[in-house]
């Protein structure tokens, strides 16, 4: 590795470990444990086992082997110049977590927790899932390691993410639709905790994000930080410099913490978390927890959350099932309060615009979650007019997942295929931009061939595949 006078960060070879949380899981005033006493013994057991595992060479070797041979790490960095034309002239690099086995960053964490499950001698894992990506990843790891697996998923989400429900079942997991409360991720978490407290002797809870009681926020961060550790080295090697900003979507916050952690000590690098703005933060129908929420206690930790004046959790709203969560991990609340990271809201319509743009300019169908980060990059690039001081701005976006699971939702939004643009079926969605044209088909060079239609007879993009 070269050293350069202008880039002292290159001297940092070993990834630094943040000084937080403290021994009892506090990130400043956030985090901790707010759970029934019955779970404390299990959380203590996990904490102890994790501390021992983290420094065990046998584990480190096994984990590295799985990440390389099974997940396909390191994930590449892709520059997206045609997309970046819409980002004010900034350069945009994507960290390709969408290329991981199972299609998102969730596998990084799950492999670690599955190994931990075996280490503590339990045979059954449970998980909550929103978009289904964490559920699929958990079902995958369970199949790989011979564990039995139950996934709790809000009934509403089983409908939105039917493809992932089928994937989990194919992988041998039991999927339990949760019909309490808002029938989304928050209620799936409640149900998973109830299962855990009842079956804790045989069962480990594989938590999907950097929220929940200690040790989950710390442990999941440690398993996800590989994203930023790789990306920091990759960007330094390609560019000889660090990015000006690192952007990621924030649901519970695991992919964002994963990509941020390596950069936290690099004070010149802006860390930007994009929350789900739904119909707009001012409409009250959103999932922008830090932007629009207040500190409180939910799901075992103190953090920002969406709550009413009685302390009841407010139901969140987002087109993206994986971001549709009224809480956020405590480390993000801390990074926000100390001013190290900034959090912004991206509406459904802005995210879907970025979604369509990446599909059409780069041939990459992103997860709708990740599209929020792309929209954030478009906005930040424009704000900067593409420049930081005297050079072209360099934005690193964590592409946390691929969009196969979202094809149905996107087709509805854009009125593609069987889905005529919905007009009065859902008024709010229409107002928010559903039914928007994703843009014209890009094939302007087509020459008519025998047996095919000429370009001017070709069906418009949004009508293609109508009855296929």
């Amino acid at each position: 590795m070269t050293t350069s006078a202008v880039s002292p960060p290159m001297d940092r070879l070993e990834p630094a470990r943040p000084s937080w949380p403290d021994a009892t899981g506090h990130f400043g005033v956030f985090g901790g444990r707010f759970v029934p006493e019955a779970l404390i013994a299990a959380l203590d057991e996990l904490t102890e086992a994790y501390r021992a595992m983290r420094v065990d060479p046998a584990f480190l070797e096994e984990f590295a082997r799985l990440q390389r041979d099974y997940t396909g790490r390191p994930s590449p960095i892709t520059e997206v110049p045609r997309f970046a034309e819409h980002a004010g002239g900034a350069r945009v690099l994507l960290k390709r977590e969408d290329l991981n086995h199972t299609g998102s960053h969730k596998i990084n964490n799950v492999l670690g927790q599955a190994l931990l499950t075996k280490r503590i001698g339990k045979q059954r894992v449970i998980a909550e899932t929103g978009a289904g990506q964490h559920g699929v990843a958990t079902a995958t790891a369970a199949a790989l390691m011979g564990l039995s697996c139950t996934v709790y998923m809000g009934e509403e989400d089983t409908r939105r993410q039917a493809l992932n429900v089928a994937r989990m079942r194919l992988l041998g997991a039991e999927v339990i639709p949760v019909t309490t409360g808002s029938r989304t991720l928050k209620d799936a978490i409640n149900e998973a905790f109830r299962d855990w407290v009842t079956n804790v002797e045989t069962t480990n809870y594989v938590f999907g994000t950097v929220a929940g009681p200690h040790p989950f926020p710390e442990m999941v961060r440690d398993f996800q930080r590989v994203i930023g550790d790789e990306a920091r080295a990759q960007v330094l090697e390609r560019e000889g410099r660090l990015p000006d900003a690192v952007l990621a979507c924030v649901g519970g916050g695991s992919n964002a913490i994963g990509v941020f952690t390596a950069f936290v000590p690099d004070e010149g690098v802006r860390l930007v978390g994009l929350e789900a703005g739904g119909d707009g933060v001012d409409t009250g129908r959103h999932a922008a927890t830090i932007t629009g929420g207040t500190p409180g206690v939910l799901h075992g930790a103190r953090s920002y959350l969406l709550q009413d004046e009685n302390g009841q959790t407010i139901e969140s709203h987002s087109i993206s099932a994986g971001l549709d969560y009224p809480g956020v991990g405590p480390e993000h609340s801390h990074l926000h309060d100390i001013g190290r990271a900034e959090y912004r809201a991206v509406t459904d319509a802005e995210a879907m615009e970025a979604f369509a743009l990446l599909c059409r300019t780069e041939g990459i169908i992103p997860a709708i979650e990740s599209a929020h980060a792309l929209a954030g990059a478009m906005e930040l690039g424009r704000e900067l007019a593409g420049r930081v001081e005297d050079r072209q701005a360099l934005l690193l976006v964590n592409l946390s997942g691929r969009g196969d699971k979202d094809v149905e939702t996107a087709s509805r939004w854009f009125g593609l295929g069987e889905h005529g643009a919905p007009t009065d079926e859902d008024d709010r969605a229409v107002e928010a931009g559903r039914g928007a044209d994703p843009g014209p088909g890009l094939d302007t060079d087509q020459q008519p061939t025998e047996g095919a239609v000429s370009n001017d007879q070709a069906v418009a993009g949004q009508d293609a595949g109508g009855t296929a």
Binding site: R33, F34, E37, A41, T180, G181, R194, L298, N310
Partner: protein
Amino acid sequence: MSLLATTIGAARAEGRAALIAYLPVGYPDVDASIAAMVGAVETGADVIEVGVPYSDPGMDGPVIQQAVDPAVRAGVGMRDVLRAVEAVAAAGAVPVVMSYWNPVERYGVQRFATDLAAAGGAGAITPDLIPEEAGEWLAAAEAADLDRVFLVAPSSTDARLRSTTAACRGFVYAASTMGTTGTRAAVSDTAEALVTRTRAVAPDLSVCVGLGVSNAEQAAEVASFADGVIVGSAYVRQLLDGAGPAGVRALSAQLAEGVRGGMPA
């Protein structure tokens, strides 16, 4: 002075366990829930756990969730809870608030302690607050002379039994089984073992047993080894089934016999 310790001690002096009834404020509505609480008092409950409705009751099973959900949606809040506390105190029993932590934190911990004491409440049971996270509450409760009841569970180590009971005042809530609230066919035999272990580290603190007690027979069984018998889901079941305050009274009368070691005819 601990209202809970005094009441449970008085029951003990009569050679029986105390009957502690849980009912959530706001189901089917605030007034009806208060009427049910008063009904339970008039038919023999010594202590009422005045339940604060919460949107994410992670320790509760389907029965209590079903009752609490409409109360949450109706916007029932701490003001209604304090009104219920006053009514229970006026009816002659000891009210203790049962609340997940966020509603208390949102209301303001100091303000909660002050207002609860003014309403005649004994203190609070906090199912998702462990003593390690309870610094602000312990200080506020001490200043307002309120009881604080934490939970112990079959999975608690002896060290935790010691530290948790040391932070309690009034009584310690022994969760009889590993699981959520709900009626069960039999009282788990882990309950008695937990009570024995708890008494061994905290001989001067009353130990009350909850989770899964639903009829007089089970109440009698628990009363044979615990200082208090906590019944929740069975009461709520009466309301969910539409039996109303009359159903609550009938159940309370049976349970009151149970905690005296008797069986209803």
